[in-house]
């Protein structure tokens, strides 16, 4: 009986995992499929999946017609990487200080941090545009990094603060008894055990910066254009080149998927360490 139940249980788990895998990969499969279909095959109802409909032309056209995409990917990589790094480097200490140190007006500071990113983008767009223009920063990656930092930093601070507050106090107290200063405690104890959360926050910040569209549209001309703009180029007024758009999208999501796969082991190990009772 027990054996049969466990077989049934295993089957259930396998089934659930299969469903999960399909749900998770379905959109990506559809994206890849769309990127290798001719437009007329794709827009047929139902889509024409006969072998003659498949083509690599979309990828070739994306690479040849929009040399922009290559530059956009490099731009996005630079912008997203620096945004993420700065958001974590600046955000983690701030979050720790607000979580653990006795700081005057910590509540007010937190509210201000939150308020800073509650302004609708459109309200700050014009003042920001004027400032950037006067500083000669329009169409620079630096500007995008600064702008993205301004709305990623508050989120990183809030997320990490929540995590730091959830850490058992014991480790930090032990470090204090061991003679560690708050900074030493943060750097040598708190940060190493917070890797999973740091990575989660970092991936969040990276994706935010990678996907951001509105400010990239307003604040760039041609040289600092990012991936979302390059992809949007395939959706015009009268015509949407779905195949090329999907090809561009497939190329552009590749770095994020790659990043997640590369960091997967670190994240898992981090979680395993984090499981230990503090």
């Amino acid at each position: 009986m027990a054996a049969r139940q466990s077989i049934l249980g295993r089957a259930g788990i396998v089934l659930a995992l299969v469903v999960f895998v399909f749900a998770a990969t379905g959109p990506i499969v559809w994206l890849l499929l769309s990127s290798v279909l001719q437009q007329q095959a794709l827009t047929s109802i139902p889509p024409d999946l006969s072998p003659s409909s498949f083509t690599l032309a979309n990828y070739l056209e994306v690479f040849s017609s929009a040399a922009q995409l290559g530059r956009a990917i490099i731009n996005s990589l630079i912008v997203a990487t620096f945004t993420t790094a700065l958001a974590i480097i600046l955000g983690a200490p701030a979050a720790y200080a607000l979580a653990r140190l006795e700081i005057k007006h910590a509540g007010t500071i937190l509210l201000m941090v939150l308020a800073a990113q509650m302004f609708p983008a459109i309200v700050i767009a014009i003042p920001l545009f004027i400032t950037a223009s006067k500083l000669g920063l329009i169409d620079t990656k630096l500007l995008l990094i600064l702008v993205y930092l301004s709305f990623n930093l508050p989120i990183v601070i809030w997320v990490l603060r929540g995590f730091f507050m959830g850490l058992p106090l014991g480790l930090e107290r032990a470090a204090r008894v061991d003679g560690a200063s708050p900074l030493q405690t943060f750097l040598r104890i708190v940060l190493p055990i917070s890797l999973p959360s740091l990575f989660a926050a970092a991936i969040f910040a990276f994706i935010e910066a990678w996907n951001e569209f509105f400010f990239a549209l307003i604040m760039t001309r041609q040289t600092a254009q990012t991936v979302p703009l390059a992809i949007s180029a395939f959706a015009g007024q009268y015509q949407t080149m779905f195949g090329q758009m999907m090809a561009a999208a497939a190329i552009s999501v590749a770095p994020i998927i790659l990043l997640t796969i590369l960091l997967r082991n670190t994240i898992l190990r981090g979680f395993a360490d984090g499981m230990l009772k503090g």
Binding site: A174, R176, V177, D178, R188, I193, M275, L276
Partner: protein
Amino acid sequence: MPSIELIDINKSYGAVHVCKGINLTIADREFVTLLGSSGCGKTTTLNMIAGLDDPTSGDILMDGRRVNDLEPVGRDVAMVFQNYALYPHMTVAGNMGFNLRLRNFSPAEIHERVGAAASALDLSHVLDRYPSQLSGGQQQRVAIGRAIVRHPKVFLFDEPFSNLDAALRNRMRAEVKELHLRLGVTSIFVTHDQEEALSISDRVAIMRNGSVEQFGTPEDVYADPETVEVARFIGTPQVEILECVIDRSNGSNTVLRCGSASLPITARQAVALGTRTEKVLVTIRPEYVTIGGQGTSATIRDVQPTGPSTLVKLGWEGSAIMARLNGIVRLTVGETAHFSIDPMQLMLFDNESGRRIKTKS
């Protein structure tokens, strides 16, 4: 010179008054336990001694010097935490040597000190492991090792054995006691387990509601409790507290009427009771209660053989009392038995304050 002195220590978290005027003087090399149920302020007191919490008012002295404003490292205290608080990303050696690295000890000296502590604690073979790869007892010893490599002036233990099973707990108690004998470092130990406190300490401070009820040797607090709460808290099994009326109707022969039973008292106790007319609280340790032959009659409510002795709960209308009989004694619950007490061993407490009514000796 006393090693540690707490003078009128108060601690409040907002409106919550956790420690209410604590005064303690701990001698050099002494092993002191702060004993109490949860929420009594014992851990807060320990944290204030460690320098992890600041008292709201009052002074903490170490070797006669006020240390209120010193960080833990400045007070030269080492602490073992309830959940061990081992650094999960460091090896056993890393955990034990962390405080030495922070103080810029040479790698050679760190190696030597960690090695010595590890061999004393039987940890030499696990120095390269991570805490998650250790058993509970090993983790506990790493936490202790982390404290002793520093050669601190004071050891602080915050309920260090509460996560261990009974057998391991007994062994660790013995190890800590032995460690204390060997190193001779002033130690303060927090626990809610009175047996642990009595077995390990030179002196026990029994805390209740943020105050020290009694501070004395294990013998003192067991045999001579100053309050009814201490009497109730110390000792296994917990004693029954009787509410008794003083009966002086029989001339000079004063007795206590406890429900339907009468208990005799000594002349000294009668003197100590003076002219008071209100009820008193009365208790007696079970070992001073005997069963058989003559005496007060009562019903056997419960019989617990424990091996070397048998615990018997005797009841009568309105009250009960515990007796401890030597060896295994066969008694039947529900039957009537006769018991007598040693009046010398009766402990009387004020009904209002719960304080002991002491006889003058």
